[in-house]
């Protein structure tokens, strides 16, 4: 007996109620506050800000709470909110050379002006579960004394030292307004600024795997981490009515510059080349991966060979790095497709019956 699928609206409302209950979990366990997520799930917040392309730790924390910790879902919430926001102004380019660094390391020099600053890193932790964190009351252990922050000393970019000797390619200064991926449709070929914009908001997992593939030989670029720095930079905006720029706030950024081998080409002498990564918040993995993928995508400009590697393929990388696009299209196949499927059913049935009758005729 046929019962038409009715009541979609009620089903949807009920599903939403159930989802809200699932989000809350056991009511006997205290509810997480947005501030707790912002302070104690900082790296998740950073990832949501980076891939959501919106620097707002509170909203990112809210999105994580609402999405039950599904970070791609949280990124989606942020993106959908971001797109409704008016654009007041474009900031001046942030000056990462003036960054107040929490962490700054170079893999290419043992020591250097500004020093190696380890900062808050997992790098040398032993990955042993710390069961003391499971204790109900964590106590008020504030960790080692922070002390008064030392006055910021200048921390020049490592690549500058190489640049002085002409050992690394120039990074020419440009005042061209960068393209805006969120306001113009992506058209290929893209310039480097547009590629970097796409990659910095691209999925961390995708960019990581692309970068990893270059290390394993699919478009190898022989990267050294010239410098990785994490810290605060000031954001300034020109106020036309005032005629000067005003600092409107500070944001945390991770910047990675790789130094890559380059044998030279017909037009360029052998020198080092650059890969660049810049990501919101403390996002080391992403920024290193970004700089490797950036460098791999520059094969054409540097006169290298295209070896057919995915990470060299601008169209492949840019068309597939966005996890909101990817997850939407992937998951949409769970929506009803029975009209198409019916058409396929008819076709397969007809092909089968024709094949069968041909077989019978042959016998």
């Amino acid at each position: 007996m046929y019962v038409a699928v009715k009541g979609g609206e009620r089903a949807i409302d009920n599903a939403h109620d159930w989802l809200a209950q699932e989000r809350r979990g056991d009511p006997a366990v205290p509810e997480l506050s947005v501030a707790q997520i912002r302070e104690q799930m900082k790296l998740a917040v950073n990832r949501v800000m980076a891939e959501g392309s919106l620097y707002d730790p509170d909203l990112a924390a809210l999105a994580i709470k609402q999405a039950q910790g599904d970070l791609i879902e949280a990124v989606f919430l942020i993106r959908a909110y971001r797109t409704t926001l008016p654009r007041f102004a474009a900031s001046r380019p942030v000056e990462t050379a003036d960054m107040v660094v929490d962490r700054r390391i170079s893999a290419t020099f043992k020591d250097l002006p500004g020093g190696q600053v380890l900062g808050p890193t997992f790098d040398y932790t032993h990955r042993l579960l710390d069961f003391t964190l499971m204790a109900e009351a964590e106590g008020c252990d504030t960790g080692p004394e922070q002390g008064t922050p030392e006055p910021a000393i200048p921390v020049p970019h490592v690549t500058q030292f190489l640049n002085r000797d002409g050992l690394i390619e120039e990074a020419p200064h440009s005042d061209d307004p960068p393209p805006d991926l969120t306001r113009e449709p992506l058209e290929l070929p893209a310039d480097r600024a547009l590629r970097l914009q796409a990659i910095t908001r691209g999925d961390e997992g995708f960019i990581l795997s692309m970068a990893y593939s270059t290390q394993r030989g699919y478009g190898r670029t022989h990267a050294f981490v010239g410098e990785l720095r994490i810290g605060k930079v000031a954001v300034t905006v020109d106020i036309p009515e005032l005629g000067f720029a005003v600092e409107i706030g500070e944001i945390n950024l991770t910047e990675c510059e790789t130094v890559n081998q380059f044998k030279g080409s017909r037009t360029e002498p052998p020198q080092f080349t650059r890969g660049y990564g810049l990501v919101f918040g403390q996002s080391e993995r992403k920024s290193i991966a970004m700089s490797l993928v950036d460098r791999a995508l520059r094969w054409n400009e540097l006169g290298e060979d295209f070896t057919g590697s995915p990470a060299q393929d601008e169209e492949f990388v840019l068309s597939h790095c966005d996890n909101i696009q990817a997850t939407g299209f992937l998951e949409h196949i769970k929506l009803p497709h029975y009209v198409d499927f019916q058409a396929e059913l008819e076709l397969v049935r007809r092909l089968r019956s024709e094949a069968q009758s041909q077989q019978e005729a042959a016998e």
């Binding site: 979609g8 997850t327 019916q342 092909l351």
Partner: protein
């Protein structure tokens, strides 16, 4: 009630203007895929964000909106999109094809013929008909520019060589006014003839792929075929078991675990309208209140 915290039909006016420009360009060059700066919508890509943006750019307060998915008004995503516009635009909604001024659809063209004062908005997943022959956008755009459609004909020919017929049953490629080859969105090829000479404006929105294209009224749309293998709009060889229609597209519904099936119109409004008019199918007469 319109939700006051958003602009009419959700999108801001600048965005709507940008989309309308793309629509106008699409109408001026029928079948050409116009890039547009698709926005992130509050529903996922793949759920009809392209169609929703086109609908949002077309709606005026006097409109009456119908939303269908698989031909039905009551499928969950159709319900959800209708609710979205009822909330953000406050427009009237309807399930009746002949009452609607704007119809957003996924995978079907209504059975009831459309009229000159209607707009049909299609949700499109992959706007590029050549995509599965050539994955690169940079290449396929060139192929359209040069009208280089040989690859598509070779594909159709290979189908015939292998299967004795063209083995494409939905999203069947068409040629628009003898120029652009166009993907009609994943409608069954049964619907393809309705694309041509249609009095309504037909708009196609692909959100994730950032493309809009259009068919102005009365555009000639030809399904690709060969002289000796002409295009054939096919459907299940049955009548609707509820309304008895012999010329509508049918869904196959499995009714038990013994392989029993029934066939019903995929266009729920069309089917209900026929039953109201007194038509009865094989199973409707015996099971008028089929609500077990």
């Amino acid at each position: 009630m319109t939700d006051q915290s958003y602009n009419f039909a959700y999108l801001d006016e600048q965005t709507k203007r940008m989309i309308r420009r793309a629509i106008l360009k699409g109408i001026a060059v029928p079948g050409y895929q116009v890039p547009f700066a698709s926005r992130e919508m509050p529903m996922p890509y793949g759920w009809g964000t392209g169609g929703v943006q086109v609908t949002a750019a077309c709606l005026v307060p006097e409109d009456r909106l119908k939303v269908i998915d698989q031909g039905a008004d009551d499928t969950t995503n159709a319900v959800s999109i209708r609710k979205f516009f009822a909330r953000t635009a406050g427009v009237a909604t309807t399930e009746r094809t002949d009452e609607a001024t704007v119809i957003q659809t996924r995978h079907r063209i209504p059975e009831t013929p459309l009229t000159p004062d209607q707009i049909l908005v299609y949700q499109v997943p992959i706007p590029e008909p050549l995509r599965f022959l050539e994955p690169r956008e940079s290449e396929t755009r060139k192929m359209h520019e040069l009208e280089e459609y040989g690859l598509m004909h070779v594909k159709l020919y290979e189908d015939i060589a292998r299967h004795g017929q063209i083995a494409t049953s939905y999203a069947y490629p068409v040629r628009v006014e003898g120029r652009y080859v166009m993907d009609p969105s994943p409608i069954p090829k049964f619907d393809n003839p309705k694309l041509s000479g249609c009095p309504a404006i037909q708009l196609f929105g692909a959100g994730r792929e950032q493309r809009i294209y259009a068919l102005p009224p009365w555009t000639e749309v030809v399904s690709l075929d060969f002289d000796d293998h002409p295009f054939e709009a096919s459907k299940a060889a049955h009548d609707c078991d509820l309304c008895g229609a012999g010329h509508s597209y049918l869904d196959e519904v499995i009714t038990d675990d013994q392989g029993t099936r029934m066939f019903v119109c995929s266009d729920t409004d069309f089917c209900a309208g026929r039953r109201e008019a007194g038509h009865q199918g094989r199973l409707w007469a015996s099971q008028p209140e089929a609500a077990e």
